[in-house]
């Protein structure tokens, strides 16, 4: 310890910075997704084999007509990435919402009702923890086939227990808290306690968990796409682009790399935002990552 100087060491990546940067990236991606038809220079499905695998503009052989080059079928990579953001975000967010809804309801019931409900729900959650989520997802996609709806369902189902556990523990902890007891003391009904006292307390934590889960879902989608279990080609998702590109890393590395970059930037942004949010909600960082 230096006895004579106190350097006010503030984190360079403070929560504000994280949330601004992360939120900015996420907002940017969402805007791109929403206005994809306006931004994208080409139809992402328009293929022209004669210009396949053209490198990005800054590389030798690239041209300004296709800033990020073209893919193996001569489709404009920039346009595909722009359109890809739509599905990646859509799948990420909706599957998160689905698993959040499913898991939170289960966790709330288990935590509030206790007894047999708790036993059944939490045992099931435990059992599913013994079932690697990606394996379950692979099994289910293989069974159901790859469509956006199935993918959302599968991703949601494969991770509901994360929410169930969080909400279960929160419910149990909150029910012990004096302010919930106080409400009971004033004659509050279960419904009142849940809506007025439990859920509002959980929202910040759930927001953090959900934010980070979106990131996981986006990654999970790319992993499934890599294993050939994502949305069917030629659908433009980042996972599909990365997966298609990964077999051509040698001849056209930019396809996979740009898709990978897009994924990293978005997921990093979401994680950044989520971590900032976590520090904001829970400054002592008791919530483990993920």
């Amino acid at each position: 310890m230096s006895a004579t100087t106190l350097r006010p060491r503030r984190a360079l990546f403070g929560k504000g910075f994280k949330m601004t940067l992360g939120g900015g990236i996420v907002l940017g991606a969402v805007l791109v997704a929403i206005f994809a038809p306006l931004i994208a220079p080409y139809d992402p499905y328009q293929q022209s084999l004669s210009i396949r695998m053209k490198p990005p503009a800054w590389m030798a052989g690239g041209s300004a007509a296709h800033w990020l080059g073209t893919d193996a079928y001569g489709r404009d990579l920039l346009s595909r990435l722009i359109y890809g953001s739509r599905l990646s975000i859509l799948v990420g967010v909706t599957s998160m919402l689905f698993s959040c809804l499913l898991g939170s309801a289960a966790g709330l019931i288990a935590g509030y009702k206790g007894g047999r409900w708790e036993q059944v729900i939490m045992r099931f959650a435990d059992a599913q923890m013994a079932f690697p989520d990606i394996l379950l997802a692979i099994l289910m996609v293989a069974a159901l086939g790859g469509s956006a709806v199935n993918l959302i369902f599968v991703l949601g189902v494969s991770r509901w227990m994360i929410y169930a556990r969080v909400v279960f523990n929160l419910t149990r902890a909150l029910r012990q808290r004096p302010f919930v007891e106080a409400a009971t003391l004033y004659g509050a009904s279960d419904r009142y306690v849940i809506w007025r006292h439990l859920l509002p307390q959980m929202v910040p934590v759930l927001t953090v968990v959900s934010t980070l889960q979106v990131a996981q879902m986006v990654l999970q989608e790319t992993a499934l796409s890599y294993l050939g279990l994502g949305l069917p080609a030629p659908t433009a998702t980042w996972g599909n682009i990365l997966s298609e590109g990964s077999s051509r890393l040698f001849v056209a590395p930019w396809i996979a790399n740009l898709a990978g970059l897009a994924i990293i930037i978005l997921v990093w942004g979401i994680n950044m935002f989520g971590n900032g949010l976590r520090e904001h909600v829970d400054p002592k960082s008791r919530l483990a990552p993920r």
């Binding site: 059992a127 079932f131 690697p132 394996l135 990131a215």
Partner: protein, 305 residues
């Protein structure tokens, strides 16, 4: 502690039953394995024989009961692909997965704890910022892409390491590194957070008040106590590691259970999938138990309950 372990082990069948149920239901959804495993030209007699052998002519609940009965005897049936007992098919590949997952886990833990400690000690300094940022970036990276990039760099460009397959230790490096990255970033961040949190505990100040040096307090007081949150995390994430090994084994053509699962699912090799899923589930549950026992060993307070 033993009683606890016994009680936990008694829950194992429940977990396994549920896992088996889900697997069974999902696999029955995917269609008739007979159609897959007989050649296009197969005879109706063969179809009937296989149908009977797999009990597919029974109603679904009966099929499940038969499945459970066989399961209790450790009999999953013959692999439709390999024509040998499904369980031994899985066990043949288990060694590869354990080797890979073990190395990856070890790598992730050792590196993660060291880096996390570095972050915590030099909190908010350059080292911390650099490592933490990379860790968050690591969380954000599709690990299979990292695997592919590693092959490109170390196997192709530099030619230092083999691209795929199993062999000597050199074959292990890239897959193990790739698999490690499924957990490493989180281990760094959790270690960092945990060490920082524990550093603020009163007993840390008390230990220093005894005249122990900062480093000694960090290593002998803070670190052991910080391991428990990390262990909890690892317990939960062991499934992620298994999931990661599916992807890693696919990228590196590593002959393990993960890739076996993937091909068996694609090929609807129902016995192997069921055996594999259950073996993985047993592994995860046992690992979790081991983690719990380890936590008890570290923290006597948990032993009581």
């Amino acid at each position: 502690m033993l009683a606890y372990a016994a009680r936990r082990l008694m829950l194992l069948p429940i977990s396994l039953f549920l896992v088996a149920l889900v697997t069974f239901v999902v696999l029955r959804l995917t269609g008739n394995p007979v159609d897959i495993f007989l050649d296009v030209t197969s005879t109706p007699e063969q179809v009937a024989a296989l149908t009977e052998k797999l009990h597919l002519d029974e109603p679904i609940p009966i099929q499940f009961l038969i499945f459970l009965r066989d399961l209790a005897q450790g009999d999953f049936g013959l692999s439709l692909q390999f024509n040998e007992p499904a369980l031994s098919t899985v066990f043949q590949r288990l060694g590869g997965t354990l080797q890979l997952a073990g190395t990856g886990l070890l790598l992730a833990i050792v590196l993660g704890v060291i880096l996390g400690l570095v972050c915590a000690v030099w909190r908010d300094r350059l080292a911390d910022l650099a490592i933490s940022s990379v860790a968050v970036a690591g969380q954000s990276m599709p690990s299979f892409w990292l695997g592919i990039l590693l092959i490109q760099l170390f196997a192709l460009k530099l030619g230092w390491l083999p691209t795929s397959g199993a062999g000597g230790w050199r074959h292990m490096i890239l897959p193990a590194v790739t698999l490690a990255t499924f957990l490493l970033p989180n281990i760094v961040l959790i270690t960092r957070a945990s060490v920082l949190e524990m550093s603020g505990e009163q007993f840390v100040i008390a230990a220093r008040a005894k005249g122990l040096s900062r480093l000694r307090v960090l290593l002998t007081h803070v670190l052991p106590v910080s391991l428990n949150p990390l262990l909890s995390f690892l317990g939960i994430q062991i499934g992620t590691l298994m999931g990661g090994s599916i992807i890693t084994e696919t990228i590196f053509a590593w002959p393990g259970v993960g890739r076996l699962m993937l091909t068996s699912i694609s090929n609807r090799d129902v016995p192997v999938v069921e055996a594999g899923v259950l073996v993985i589930a047993v592994g995860i549950v046992l690992t979790n138990l081991a983690v719990d026992l380890l936590q008890m060993l570290i923290d006597p307070r948990i032993r009581r309950h």
